[in-house]
């Protein structure tokens, strides 16, 4: 209970200070603000360490249990240890083992996962983009114009296609996006004010 009140108190005090500081011209307030920015980075770095320790703990536990998932946990632990050894012993500059592994293993593997998007977009478009009503038919036609108009093949077919695609993106789509963004912005402002007022305590984890 005391811990909760302490957390809420720190959040409220920090919140009020940071809000007031934004509108003040004061060297001491500015110095305090700079210090807080540094603290934030330090605290986050420690949170990362805790996260990594958590991952290692879970996978060490999985490795010690029989099951088909052991190979994945073993690979993760081996990768974590090897990259740490490479980084600390050989450095991270050009020509180092660390950078070689990053450029030749990690980047291609992650790009492969990213490339899945092309396939998933295709299957989702085939499955979900159906003209079931007049409104969805308009959406499908707009999507087709934008799809073709944003690549050179659209220009090759007709200069009107890219022009129409630009209009769709810059007028109706932008208007809708702006409206959604403003709505989301208002939600964010409301949540922020509730945190400062001590009404929003989700960050305490459901207590």
């Amino acid at each position: 209970m005391l811990r909760d009140w302490l957390s809420v108190g720190v959040a409220m005090a920090a919140g009020l200070f940071m809000t007031v500081q934004y509108f003040l011209v004061s060297e001491s307030a500015n110095a305090a603000y700079r210090t807080v920015l540094l603290w934030m980075q330090i605290v986050f770095a420690f949170a990362l360490i805790i996260g990594v320790i958590g991952v290692l703990r879970i996978h060490l536990k999985k490795l010690s249990r029989p099951g088909s998932g052991r190979i994945y946990s073993g690979t993760l632990l081996a990768g974590a240890v090897l990259m740490s050894v490479f980084g600390f012993s050989g450095g991270i500059e050009r020509g180092s083992a660390f950078l070689w592994v990053f450029d030749n293993l990690q980047a291609p593997m992650q790009s492969t996962v990213f490339s899945l998007l092309a396939f998933y977009v295709a299957s989702a478009a085939y499955r979900g983009f159906r003209a079931r009503s007049m409104e969805s038919a308009v959406l499908v036609i707009a999507a087709l114009i934008v799809l073709i108009g944003r690549v050179p093949v659209g220009e090759w077919l007709s200069p009107h296609i890219p022009e129409s695609a630009d209009w769709i993106l810059n007028v109706p789509a932008l208007a809708a996006k702006r409206a959604i963004l403003i709505g989301i912005g208002l939600g964010m402002i409301a949540t922020s004010l509730k945190v400062i007022a001590g009404l929003e305590r989700t960050y305490l984890g459901g207590r």
């Binding site: 959040a11 920090a14 919140g15 009020l16 200070f17 940071m18 809000t19 934004y22 509108f23 003040l24 011209v25 807080v36 934030m40 949170a47 805790i50 996260g51 990594v52 958590g54 991952v55 879970i58 536990k61 998932g69 994945y72 992650q110 996962v113 899945l116 998007l117 998933y120 977009v121 299957s123 989702a124 478009a125 499955r127 979900g128 983009f129 996006k177 702006r178 959604i180 963004l181 403003i182 709505g183 989301i184 912005g185 208002l186 939600g187 964010m188 402002i189 409301a190 949540t191 922020s192 004010l193 509730k194 400062i196 009404l199 989700t202 960050y203 305490l204 984890g205 459901g206 207590r207």
Partner: protein, 292 residues
């Protein structure tokens, strides 16, 4: 976290957008700290904060007096119970994802945590396993507390499994690959994608669909919203996520905040119309005037 800073900066970044008129925000530094003890060029943000405080304060006060408006029901929320029931019947787990794009400072993540608490309570009551893979150590730690507390509230503290609510990876596609693998192995009966998503959204939603899971999504990421609408069974659009958290928690403060946001929305619409009229008739740029 740096919420008030985010609040001030958010307001200052929203203001030019509100009036829909291009202003040279980037060429007129807002940081001209000169003259008096109040920073110059921030009057609009100050006025904006005061207006927000008034609107949200009044609606919160009215809510305490029992004058809260009724929030309309959302089909995606009604589907949560059915999805959990289906997963329990099938003996499969449910997977809850808050998205790679959101940290604990993001209001969408906070709203998602409120929904997570309700989902976890129901899942604990039904003895349905819940898996929460996280991309952020802070989100993982808050989620652990949330799920553990939900298990206690449901009277099933033994249901909570710490290993199921854990940090996975900060890498976007590393995270997506890990969650994809998890879904392929565990074949969840329901997948909740509620939070801020980026490029991983469609990868996760399509894999969930391939696993034949019921997919319930909601996000404030406008571009990912279009993917989720196409790929998921139910989708909460933008700020519906905030309203949803109020609905599931039956929390009067959240309902009051949604009401306050509606007041501010009317104010913005009026400002937009006035800005457009002023610019069209007299050539007066309200956006530039508001942002100094």
């Amino acid at each position: 976290m740096n919420r008030p800073r985010q609040l001030s900066c958010l307001l200052s970044s929203l203001l030019p957008g509100l009036t829909a008129l291009p202003v040279a925000a980037a060429e007129t530094p807002a940081d001209s700290l000169s003259g008096g003890w109040l920073a110059a060029g921030r009057n609009a943000e100050l006025a904006g904060i005061i207006l927000c405080v008034i609107a949200l304060g009044v609606t919160a006060w009215l809510a305490r007096r029992g004058r809260t408006p009724r929030l309309r029901s959302l089909p995606a929320l009604d589907a949560i119970g059915n999805a959990l029931g289906r997963a329990t019947e099938q003996g499969t787990p449910v997977v809850y994802i808050t998205g790679w794009g959101g940290d604990m400072a993001r209001p969408t993540t906070m709203a998602s945590m409120v929904i997570l608490s309700e989902v976890a309570q129901n899942a604990a009551g039904m003895n349905c396993r819940l898996i929460f893979p996280s991309h952020d150590p802070l989100v993982a730690s808050v989620a652990q507390e949330t799920v553990q507390q939900a298990a206690r509230t449901a009277g099933r503290p033994d249901w909570y499994r710490p290993d199921d609510v854990a940090f996975v990876s900060q890498s976007q596609l590393g995270y997506a690959a890990a969650v994809d693998g998890l879904m392929a192995r565990e074949r969840p009966g329901a997948v909740f994608l509620l939070g801020t998503f980026e490029g991983e959204a469609l990868i996760l939603a399509e894999t969930a669909h391939q696993s034949r899971a019921v997919t319930i999504a909601g996000t404030d990421s406008t571009i990912q919203l279009s993917f989720l609408l196409v790929a998921c069974d139910y989708t909460l659009i933008g700020e519906e996520l905030f309203a949803a958290s109020g609905l599931v928690a039956k929390d009067q403060t959240i309902a009051a905040a949604v009401w306050g946001q509606d007041w501010l929305r009317y104010l913005i619409i009026t400002t937009l119309l006035a800005g457009g009229a002023l610019f069209s008739i007299w050539g007066f740029n309200l956006g530039a005037w508001l942002t100094g």
